[in-house]
Amino acid sequence: MDDTLAQLIDMGFDPSVSQLALEQTNYQGVQQAIEYIYGLSTSNNLSGVKQGSTIGQTPPSSQQPLQSQKTLVDLTQGNNNSSNLTKTHVADQQLTSNKPKSQKTSLKSSIRESSETNSDDEYYQDVDDYEFDVPVQEIFTTNNSVIQARELIKTALVEIDNITNITETSPSEATLLLLHFQWNSNKLLERYYEDPDRVKQQAGVKAIDQYKIKINVPGQDCIICGDSLDQNNGSYLSCQHYACSDCWDGFITNKIKDGESIGMTCLSFKCTNIIPDIFVKEVVPKQYNKYLERLAQTFVDKNPNMRWCPVAGCGNALKADSKAETVASCTCGFKICFKCNQESHIPANCDQMKQWKKKCEDDSETANWIQSNTQDCPQCHSSIEKNGGCNHMTCKKCKHEFCWVCLGNWKNHSKCNTFDKDKVSKSESKKNLERYLFYFHRFNIHEQSKKFETKLRASTLETIMSIQNKKDKRWIDVKFLIQSTEILIQCRRTLKYTYVFGFYLPDGAEKNLFEYLQNDLEKTTEHLSGLLEKAEDKNIFDIKEVTNLASTKLRHLLEGVEEGLTLGGTKR
């Protein structure tokens, strides 16, 4: 029995299909099983819509199954007639799973698979198949590259090592040379052979002065800790600033920790003597590798097209492949604005962000206080802070007497407890402040939501696992949840910055349209967020749909902003 199964698997049939076929044919033999499978698929063929078979596939070892598979592919490709799905779903799905190349078919088969498990056939008959064939959309197609930190440092170290050997310099000198030629080693060597000294001078390589390491310096104390240096523990450069090895160690370790490498200078105050590599190597051997890494990191530090991912502990480098590119995304999910090195802030631009940040710094602390502690004099509109308990106020400026509670004239004043919205009068500055607070509040709320949703990233994997385990879904069916989470975060981030953009957008038709799109995106984002937070097998189709919706709305908003809203608006 196992032999026949093995034979079938050898022929290229899926193990579970083979098993099923064997069961259905009562283990009569290989031929019967193949006929069973073949028969199933040909009977489908009657109702399936014919299409040219174009999909590449791995041919099974016998001709027959190949034939049957082709028909199946045709079937799944062009099958809009869902009524016969129920009849055929078992063999259909399992056969196509032989052929992992075509994601479309696998996705479809997954639907059938689930119908197998919950036998909710009618439900699936109502489902518009086409919907599920649309893959989750990517909104940004940036072509920046992300370079893993380890790779990068390894490459740079090899480069440094290479130049060190050829030019017979120290690693830091080699790095200086490389930096001078923007890490173009061919150009470097070409020029170097022409005139080594001149190239070195141009690159800022200085001759290494004398230095002494771990020697006895009788009569001198360490300038840092004050220990006497008569126990072979004194080290110094040509400037003769004596210090003990321990203090040098602490000093250099600190510097390396702060990210210094090239041009590290002597520990004495305002001394410009450069510490040579060999000194680091011998005095702080433990830190030497770290030091070399720092040298390698200058590859990114000094490269205008590259940035470190600012996320703590990420350490990857991002590279923009063209100058026009302003947004780069890291594999850790962070998106960076290349121009200002902050989190990507589209649709607001860098200048707006700068203004916004300054405004937030200036206003956020005072704003709260002003709002809760002051009111404007109803007559002269100057801000007034109340300094006592009595609500009968007299404005210092214009001597106007009024009621602090209702801001009405104190004389003949009554009905202080009745709400009258016409009476709400506010000074210009206060109106501005309120306008700012309105935008700031929303900016903040989206930021907070984003923080929560970033945590979803971690739990998404778990959710996928649990759906998979519970409902027998396959990885490929639910893995789009990862993308959904990313798109949700993208929407959140963009929404956050739309409030900066909106704050600086003058009133008018453009703003109206912008706010319409913003509102639209906001609603969809909330919907998606709600769905993702309680993602389970029942709502995965919803999630997919809403993800695509959100993705579309986000694209509309961004395109609209980019192309000019009113123009883009009439276009659509």
């Binding site: 840092i224 800790c225 004050g226 602490g250 600190n254 105050f269 305002k270 710094e361 602390e365």
Partner: protein, 150 residues
């Protein structure tokens, strides 16, 4: 080891400063190794002639590899680089710190900063800065050093 260096170094500095105090500098309080108060007296023939100010030094165990936190307590001198909350804008206290600097050399630097002043005015952004740095130490500030000549 690190804390050993810190204690030894401060003891040594204290001895030296008490043995031969630089002109215009007097240790007022140094009972603890983490906080000293130093009194400085404005140099003759300068705007601060004879005026007395109190400087507070706070050290952590990384001293002297890390700079001490230095600020005026009590009444701060009116000076373009000294904020009214006592914070001092002086590069050697932050970025340009070197472990070879000492309490006494810092005091001398601050005195000379006072001496070279030509007009007693507070920093232009005094109000703004002071209101923003309530409850913060000067080491939390990202200092920009505009001008080293005053």
């Amino acid at each position: 080891m690190a804390s050993g260096r810190y204690a030894k170094r401060l003891q040594k500095e204290l001895q030296e400063i008490q043995k031969s105090p630089p002109h215009g500098i007097m240790i007022e309080e140094a009972n603890n190794l983490d906080r000293w108060v130093v009194q400085i007296t404005g140099t003759e023939n300068t705007l601060y002639n004879g005026e007395k100010f109190r400087l507070q030094f706070r050290f952590n165990s990384e001293y002297p590899l890390e700079s001490p936190e230095v600020m005026f307590i009590g009444v701060a001198p009116i000076h373009p680089h000294i904020y009214s909350n006592g914070h001092i804008c002086l590069s050697i206290l932050y970025d340009a710190w070197s472990p070879a600097l000492t309490v006494s050399s810092v005091c001398v630097s601050i005195l000379s900063m006072l001496s070279s002043c030509t007009e007693k005015v507070p920093p232009v952004d005094n109000q703004y800065y002071v209101s923003r740095s309530i409850g913060k130490t000067p080491k939390d500030t990202r200092w920009m050093f505009h001008d080293d000549t005053v």
